[in-house]
Symmetry: C2
Subunit: 206 residues, 2 copies
C-alpha cells in the first residue's frame, strides 16, 4: 500500500541533515499550504522538485579539481587567468567557496571530498590521494596550500598530505592559524590564543 503523500514528504524531508521529524512536519505543511494557495509561492513544491532533479542530473565532478560543476571542467579550472602554479587543497566544496569569497587566492583548487578519519573508515584510498599526487607531479605546480579545517581530522590530513608531497620538490604551506579578525581576546578559546602566542609575528624587522 502506498503511504499517504503528506507523511511521505515528511519522511523525505527528515532525511536532510539537521531536520528532525518536527521540522520536517512544519516544512511539509508549509509546502502544502503554499501549493494550495494562489500566492507568489504557489509553485514552491514544483520548483524545488525540479531543481532537485536538475541537480541530480546535471551536477558532476570537475575532471581536474573535483569541484562540483555541470561541464567536464569547472569554471575555475577553465579560467586561463588563474595561477596554474599554486594548488589549494580543501576538504569540501563549501570550503573552496569560502576561500573564493575572500578574493585573495588566484590559483587552482583540489577538493578532497572528505578528510582522513580512521575511526569512520575514511583512509587515504577514499580520498583518492594518488590523483592529487599525479596533479602535483605532472603539472607546473610550485606550491601546494593545504587548507583543511583547523580541527583534529583536518590537522591529521594536513600532516599526512605534507608527508606524501614531501618527495616532490614543492613548497608546501598551510593556512595561518591565530586570532580571527574582529574577535576579542576575552572571548577567544585558549587553544586559539595559545597558538596565536606561539606563532606570534615580528612587527618590526630587527
Amino acid at each position: 500500500m502506498k503511504l499517504d503523500p503528506i507523511a511521505t514528504l515528511q519522511l523525505q524531508l527528515a532525511r536532510l541533515p539537521g531536520i528532525g521529524p518536527r521540522s520536517a512536519a512544519r516544512l511539509a505543511f508549509y509546502i502544502i499550504k503554499t501549493s494550495q494557495a494562489q500566492g507568489k509561492n504557489a509553485n514552491l513544491a514544483e520548483d524545488l522538485a525540479q531543481s532537485l532533479l536538475d541537480v541530480q542530473k546535471e551536477v558532476r565532478l570537475c575532471r581536474e579539481c573535483q569541484n562540483l560543476c555541470t561541464e567536464e571542467y569547472c569554471s575555475i579550472c577553465r579560467d586561463p587567468r588563474r595561477d596554474q602554479s599554486t594548488l589549494c587543497v580543501v576538504e569540501a566544496v563549501p570550503d573552496m567557496q569560502a576561500l573564493e569569497k575572500s578574493g585573495t587566492f588566484r590559483g587552482l583548487y583540489h577538493v578532497l571530498h572528505g578528510v582522513l578519519a580512521p575511526l569512520e573508515g575514511v583512509g587515504p584510498e577514499e580520498l583518492k590521494l594518488e590523483y592529487l599526487l599525479d596533479r602535483t607531479k605532472n603539472k607546473s605546480v610550485e606550491e601546494v596550500i593545504i587548507a583543511t579545517n583547523a580541527n583534529v581530522d583536518g590537522d591529521a590530513t594536513a600532516l599526512y598530505l605534507a608527508s606524501l608531497l614531501e618527495p616532490q620538490e614543492l613548497r608546501i604551506t598551510r593556512l595561518a592559524m591565530g586570532v580571527p579578525l574582529g574577535s576579542e581576546l576575552e572571548y577567544l578559546d585558549s587553544a586559539t590564543l595559545s597558538r596565536a602566542l606561539l606563532e606570534r609575528k615580528d612587527m618590526v624587522n630587527t
Copy 2:
C-alpha cells in the same frame, strides 16, 4: 541564461521557512554529495522531488472539514464511529493532529486554515466562516469546541467565532487554560499562572 543548478537548488531551499541562505547551501551540498555517492541515501534528491510532486498533485482539502487529504472526504469525516455531534474548530492541520494524538477527542473537526489577523489583512471572509456556520446549522451538531491557539490572534478569533455562533442553540466551549502538565510553577510565565489562579477548580464538592 539558465542559472547554475546548484545555485538554483540553494535558492529554492531558502524559500522554505526557517531556512536561510547558509542552511540552504548546507542542505544543497548534502543533497548533491549523497546523490554523487552510492550509499543508502543516493536516491534522496529523486525521492524528495517525487514526494514534492505527489503532494502537489494529490493533496487537497476535505470537502467537509477542510483537512488535508487525498480523497474527497478525509479519513476522520469518513469514519462513522466519530461523534457527529461535536465539532472542534482549529486554526491549522498540525493543531488537529496534535489533538488527535491526545486521543481524547472523538468528534469531527473544522480547520480554519488561518486566524483573524486584521493587521495582516486576514478578516472573517478569508477564513470562510460562512461555511462553518452552514455546517453547524445543517448538521446534528450540539457542541462547538473552539481550539484556536492561546495567543492574541487565537483569542480574538475565538471570541469572534463565539459571537457568530451564539444565535444558534449550541454549546460553545473553549479549551481549558492553565498550568501545563509536568511543568514546574517556578519556571512558568506569569500570564499562565495568573490565568490558572483565576480559573482554579474546586477539589472537594462543597
